[in-house]
Symmetry: C2
Subunit: 196 residues, 2 copies
């Protein structure tokens, strides 16, 4: 016998990060008791996003279009390429007023989990660098072991192509994740970047 | 121009209780980057639950069936009727080992918000009491101003019909909501109920 619909809803809400059994229950009852329209809208938004959001042809970030909004913007400085791990990191860097372009790795190197350069899809970044026009790579991966290793590897890719590479300054707390850092600290870290 | 699908997903995730802009963003990216299958399952569970979950014909709780599982269970003691505000409260009382039956108000009296006996649908409870067979009403509404007022009103409904009414003991912290209280305290409160 299959579970009843309320239990199924509570179970599936737990696929959301940070949602335990108690808050999943609270969410399910909240929608059922007070906001069925919101529940239906959420279902629709989920289906649309899961189906139609893919990766930007140029910078690899998540977007429903062939090219993301930033890549389509001719006013951005194409000589600066900021390398980040996730789309959320793009939003964090955008908030500092940065006007260059991005490449989004959608992860980091993690040999212990079997994620090497090939699994991370770094060939797409290599092709991007080979197309030319880039003066400097800003390595803005997280200040974690994996983020540092990834920055080092991508820095080497830049050096081989005689492109300058810099690492954002250690204003970012060690072990910290970019997306949780306040805009001021992040602006400072960008300004204080060092050649590597 | 309409918002892009990722922004729409982030916006609609905020209809979930306790989800602010930052956690909505985190949830959306988590699903898109790592768990699209989970996102699709959640959408499906939402649609099914929003469409098919209604109220139990007998006890008024949320269920996809005509009668809920507890009301369909012939082994429950029909002489005891526990009055609670929400379906989550039923789960909390169930965990104490209670074996009577329930009536779920789906709210409480709140004259300031325009919720009187009629708006709360207390006629359905009155009909239920009039069908007979109930020896005692256990008033297990929250220990808030509205919960106490509701308990008082439902207690009067019982008295008019010469049904005993009791209020769960004040082991429940004043101002506290039933669904967050540990099972031991709640079992104690049930055992120590007083006639009203
Ligand atoms: Zn792009
Ligand atoms: Zn029922």
């Amino acid at each position: 016998m299959s579970k009843d619909l309320i239990s199924q809803l509570i179970d599936t809400l737990r696929c959301l990060p940070g949602v335990g059994p108690k808050s999943a229950q609270r969410m399910a009852y909240h929608l059922l008791e007070r906001n069925r329209e919101g529940g239906n809208k959420l279902a629709h938004a989920l289906v649309e996003a899961m189906e139609h959001v893919g990766h930007c042809r140029i910078c690899n970030t998540l977007t429903e279009h062939d090219e993301c909004e930033i890549c389509s913007n001719q006013g951005r400085d194409g000589s600066l390429l900021c390398i980040v791990e996730t789309p959320a990191d793009v939003l964090a860097i955008e908030a500092t007023g940065y006007r260059g372009r991005y490449y989004v790795l959608m992860g980091h190197l993690s040999p212990l989990d079997g994620i090497g350069p090939e699994e991370l899809g770094l060939q797409k970044l290599a092709d991007h660098l080979d197309r030319g026009g880039i003066d400097e790579l800003i390595l803005a991966t997280n200040s974690t072991v994996e983020g540092e290793a990834t920055a080092h590897y991508v820095g080497e890719m830049a050096h081989k192509r005689e492109i300058r590479a810099s690492r954002i300054a250690h204003g970012v707390p060690i072990g910290g994740e970019l997306e949780y850092i306040d805009g001021g600290t992040l602006a400072h870290a960008l300004a204080g970047r060092q050649s590597v």
